[in-house]
Amino acid sequence: MGVPYIPVRGLAGTDVFARRTDMMIVHNPFDPDEKTVVAMAINPDVAICHAIKADRWGNAILRRGGDELLISQASAKVIITAEEIVDQVTEDDPDGLFISALNVTAVVHAPHGAHPAGVPGMYEMDRDHIKEYIAASRSDETFHAYLEKYVIGKTEAEYQALVTRPAVVAGDGA
């Protein structure tokens, strides 16, 4: 990634273009008879991605099937939070998807750090907490109350103590 834009077939005729400036319909530079949609790149300043494990250099194992690697490759800085810091992470690790330290700016040891989401093989998503978050998101007042309860002025340890720990997935990881 890091490319300035990407072409995509689709979306023509929809109201998307009237409401967004990051997508437009242009001529294919290689075939003037063809027009396609192009979408502007999203290049975050910082990506924060939670890993199953990482080493001190920043090599890490991400869950499979997610978009964390793609996001990291498009971002200026990448912070990896990891369940576990190990001596060395290698490309052939069977537990997930490898991301090279070349992409990574910093590593943070953050056990249970995916909460309220889950980590495959380690712990499940905390559905009750996500419901609470969604309910709180309905207005600025209720969302601010949520932040007061869980985030503002709280340390990571205080946050973890406040949330109910969901059941550990049986068999592995724990």
């Binding site: 929809t14 109201d15 998307v16 319909i25 027009k35 396609t36």
Partner: protein, 244 residues
Amino acid sequence: MTGRYNADELLAVLMSRHIDDFETVACGAISMLPASAILLAEATHAPNIDAIIRGSEVYGAGVGRDMHFIAQRGKLDMFFLSGVQFDGEGNLNLHVIGDPDAPDRRFPGGYGSGLLAYTAKKLMLFRTEHSTRVFVPEVDFVSAALKTDPTITRMKQQVWLFTPKAILRWDDGLQRYALLSYHRGTTPAEVQAATGFQLLIPPDVTETPEPTDEELQTLRTTVKERLIETGTYARWAETAFMPA
């Protein structure tokens, strides 16, 4: 409706008949009826299809990117899509009801719809309600469009729209929906009255062939079991179908 089948079973059976063997067929993440249609086709006349069912533990695992690029290169034979509103210009809305800047209701959105409605060779639109609040003169937001500026590359497509009352067909030449068939218990006039835009109604339009006993039995046994054992809307499948 005759009491032999419920509305969900009717739509699943009717959609399954349009799936041909060896096709690559796909549906999205909250797609119980398409999933049932796909598995019914696989269990009957189309055993060699490639099925992608997002949200299924077996049919949806690790194929999200594949689905995107298969569609982008024009190799996705069929995609299923629903919407909150459809209009007679071939637009569907899966974004908002009301003013997009201050919506009355929000829906999951439609980037997938806008991409896949454009690229699938056979587009299976469906809606579980056939009324004038669904089939409107003009949608509040165009999430996916059947009409495209002719200078923009788009493949030829076949498009159907399945409802509890009828099967509509998008007439590519006339750029309008035509009534392909109406279901047992309704009439072309009743279908038109429940539709907020003008349909083309051929004088020789016929009744939709009802689900056969064999189709219903397969749906209620093989397909139900398969949905449950593959983690494909298993909880829904427990109660969706009438007793075998």
